[in-house]
Symmetry: C2
Subunit: 341 residues, 2 copies
């Protein structure tokens, strides 16, 4: 097996020092243009590419960031990763991805893998099982910057990229009020998860502001906001004596299944019941009527996470900073709330 060409090989060929070759390849100002050209040509000729591992080792920089997501194939996360990759690529960083699959055991093991200087920083969305943060403490102690997004640790100081769930839910609910809904229901997620609790709180606050009473019968929490759970809740709402005429759902899957359940029961959407979802999933533009929903701007979250992380990696400071970035959401109004009056 032929050995890969090294700097030294180039140096010998050209009767130059390895240090000169290294500088020439870096386009260092203190190297003559002629030498640079000779080196570049020879490198091309011998098919030389610098061994980046040796370089990383020597410079103590890997230009790599690690990303831990529960699952890559969840659209939200794939969008965030896309944003991370986009920003990182332009900044010259590589992105290494890991799936925790919502297992705290696997999440912990991944943090161990990331401890050994392979990644200069880590971006994480916590798994559902995760309720302690010791495994991240270790990274902190090693001065590896961390940025959390979406499912972030509560009562734990850290860099966080979030959206304003409370405010987004407030606006979504207010939108239903503005189009004339009088009895507004909510299909929510697990209240032990911060973001879903915030969405519920925002919903309640909008009702209160406009002097609407809270009818507990119109509020249902699901375990994981699944399509199937959405249908179950929708059926319950349908069978109420006093049905809702508007529903704010904490995600798009439940909103879509609610639409389908209502339609099957000959209820007109949006005129009899108007629906708002959350997340702006591709399905929201396909379901008929198209779904009004909150765009959570996942790609921008990813960009922001990478931007913050890389800034902290490159900062000279020795102290790990804690910063919270809130990404602005927008309500996308579509047919599911466009009443013909």
């Amino acid at each position: 097996m032929k050995r890969r060409t090294t700097l030294k090989d180039l140096a010998k060929e050209l009767n130059l020092a390895a240090s000169t070759i290294s500088r020439a390849l870096d386009d260092h100002p203190g190297i003559s243009p002629e030498t640079k050209e000779k080196v570049l040509n020879k490198a091309e000729e011998l098919g030389f590419t610098r061994n980046s591992i040796a370089s990383s080792f020597r410079k103590n920089k890997t230009l790599t960031i690690g990303v831990i997501v529960p699952r890559i194939d969840i659209h939200f996360h794939s969008l965030v990763i896309s944003g991370i990759e986009e920003f990182a690529y332009k900044a010259g960083y590589n992105v290494t991805i890991f799936q925790s699959r919502d297992s705290i055991k696997r999440e912990t093991k991944i943090t161990k893998i990331l401890q050994n200087k392979m990644s200069e920083g880590v971006i994480i969305c916590l798994g559902t099982e995760t309720d302690s943060y010791e495994h991240f403490e270790k990274l902190n102690r090693l001065k590896i910057p961390l940025v959390f997004y979406d499912r972030v640790p509560s009562d734990y100081e850290a860099n966080k990229i979030i959206i304003n769930d409370y405010e987004s839910a407030f606006k979504a609910t207010e939108h239903l009020i503005e189009i004339g809904c009088k009895r507004i229901g909510h299909i929510g997620g697990s209240q032990s998860t911060g973001i879903f609790k915030d969405r519920y709180e925002g919903f309640k606050a909008a009702l209160t502001k406009h002097g609407f009473p809270m009818d507990k019968k119109l509020v249902h929490f699901t375990r994981e906001l699944s399509y199937e759970e959405g249908a179950l809740v929708a059926k319950k709402l349908l069978n109420l004596e006093n049905r809702p005429d508007g529903i704010f759902c904490s995600n798009d899957y439940t909103a879509v299944s609610a639409i389908q359940v209502f339609q099957k029961n000959n209820i007109k959407i949006p005129n009899e019941i108007s629906i708002v979802g959350f997340s702006n999933y591709p399905i929201s533009k396909i379901i008929e009527p198209h779904l009004t929903t909150v765009n959570d701007r996942a790609f921008e979250m990813g960009m922001a996470a990478a931007r913050l992380l890389i800034r902290q990696i490159e900062e000279e400071e020795d102290i790990i900073q804690s910063e919270i970035v809130t990404i602005k959401t927008e309500l996308i109004v579509r047919e599911s709330t466009m009443r013909s009056s």
Copy 2:
């Protein structure tokens, strides 16, 4: 700034040689259990983790594979990446991802990044612009194993993970024939892309086998199989004097929009027109009626790609092998082809 603890620090603390520490941490058989325990305890105490860059550099192994996809946020690719990550994780490899965004320029630049030994192997799905493979030749010359999936180079010997598009389309079409369709149409993708051409060929072959004439009016090719293009084609099919009673679509987006267009025109699905899609996207289980489609088993493609790549990385052979792995698809029959007769 405090220096990270190194092997040498541990060695000094314990009055042992660095080599002994290294072996103890590796659970090397030739080290006494007592020494191992001492080393492990001290490592824990000093918060020592091995510098994996130094280790990679020394061993000339990074245990990292690179993945180039057009876009991460396309569901198919996120599923493939999930499969790659799953297999790689279990095999002790890390996965670094890059998006070519269908730009050959960016794809080429990424292959340059991957040339410098950072990745021991590369998995790629070609971008739509890519029609030459020089940039991959370079990786070949450096003996970095390559595995292509989905959009693979034609007339270029390489490792490829594919599905049998021809056969899958054949079976999907035959299914339409079996349920009683007499005039079967096709919404296809660009015929300059191998997989879409194969699907069309499979469609034709099924018609031929069962003695059905080919009616060119029932076949339409789109540029990128988008939801919007699907609707346009569906409208054309709808306005034909002699409408189809079954349609095989080369993806799920066009199938879904066709369903919606027909429904809006009061055509009953599946009884008047039956529809089959391709890919088993999440939407296929949500659209009503649920869509019959070909499960292309993207996760398994990813697993297979990682398996093949890692095997070639670890093989001693100096020659790069070329292997083609065909992943078995399955037709998932749902309501869009369940006729009540």
